[in-house]
Symmetry: C2
Subunit: 231 residues, 2 copies
DNA sequence: GTCTATATGGAGATAGAC
DNA sequence: GTCTATCTCCATATAGAC
């Protein structure tokens, strides 16, 4: 990234401004007027270079997706066959961490943007599936090998929980800062990541390991009077 | 909830339509015109009854927050002093599950709406903190008693991960449906919840238990060449 | 590739009759 | 409490000169 925004091409100026503003206010919360004003380019240039607003939004997402996916893929491939689930989780999550913390402000905004997109049904197909499912599948297949005794469905559910944990973390909402009376800081992603790995690895082992409890309701059925029709 | 929307008061018709549409498209993705059209009331009545659009949005959130918080608080109070972390997680999460699955379509939309709000920095203060921190604190204090040897900060981080896992689940984005080739369904919240409890409980134990590994980076420091400045 | 100017529609909000 | 009508502003998108 160039040191001064002025040195960048018009396309990059528009993408950078879009990234920052979309991350803060969402797709509908930002106007092209505001984007082009922050980018210090004329309004008409947004449409000229990117077409409709939705295409600009997708261009913002796509710009960094390849680099992120590449880094994750390399990290997964670097692991030997003896790698445990903690190693796999680290390989999958660390590139996001490194880029959000040490990749510059653009990556920080990008991480927060993806965190919001991931919880919105509106963008599941057009963004999450098309941009990120390939590497997700790679992670899942490696995890099946590392936890060979698991019902495959439990691997998928554990991955689902991993994504939720990751996205909450990279959203940096600062809710936990207030809740903890300042003892925890959302911005301290290095620390959170170091806590997240053992937390998630233990979850994977409990749900997908050889001695898995597998299903809470099966163990508790008789103790809970309000439960209904579920197998 | 009345059987026919027509039998409801104007306020409830507007709140119901708002709830459905905000959950699907977000605050800025819905116009008051569309809301009042779906509610089959005149446009001017939205402003008359609720004031500015933002106040209507907050009214939608507040309408069900008290009932949800009450149910969670009762479930936590019902646990004896011998309750484990799995019991606490169940008490905190089950009311959300029960209302989303068996509370009617309004609660389903509500759960999906809250799931998106939780990952958006924009609503952290005005909604998440003001509406949900009180019961969150109750859960955390009980968890500190159940895991007395833990550094308090790890309890807060584990709670943070729990919220991420929960919100991803109740968002029902259907990403995992496609990723799993149909083997898992986002809509099957009863099954997901049954998997979520042992997953999260194991995470809490690993991060906050007596034999906690506590910090992944401390164990792995020498093996990772790319790590930088973090303590 | 960039600028000015504008087309066209929809947004939130309200005044005032009933 | 409800309806009609309207105010004012801003949205996306594009046409056409340079």
């Amino acid at each position: 990234m160039a040191r001064r925004e002025q040195e960048l091409s018009t396309q990059d100026r528009i993408l950078n401004a879009s990234e920052t503003l979309f991350a803060e206010f969402g797709f509908d919360g930002v106007s092209l007027r505001r984007i082009t004003q922050q980018a210090e380019v004329e309004l008409a240039l947004a449409n000229y270079h990117f077409g409709p607003k939705k295409e600009l939004f997708l261009a913002v997402v796509r710009r960094r997706a390849d680099e992120l996916n590449q880094a994750r893929s390399v990290a997964l491939d670097a692991l030997g066959p003896e790698a445990g689930v903690a190693d796999l989780i680290d390989a999958f999550t660390r590139p996001f961490l490194e880029k959000s913390v040490r990749g510059g402000p653009g990556w920080k905004s990008y991480a927060r943007l993806i965190a919001q997109i991931a919880n919105s049904p509106r963008w599941t197909e057009v963004i999450m599936a098309s941009q990120f499912d390939a590497v997700a599948t790679k992670f899942i297949e490696r995890t099946k090998l590392a936890l060979p005794h698991s019902d495959e469905r439990n691997i998928y559910w554990a991955f689902h929980f991993l994504i939720g944990t990751m996205m909450m973390t990279f959203a940096e909402t600062q809710r936990i800062d207030r809740l903890s009376g300042g003892r925890c800081r959302s911005s301290d992603l290095d620390t959170i990541h170091a806590k997240m790995i053992p937390f998630l690895a233990a979850g994977f082992e409990a749900l997908c390991g050889a001695d898995s409890v597998a299903d809470w309701s099966r163990n508790r059925r008789s103790a809970i009077g309000t439960m209904k029709d579920h197998p």
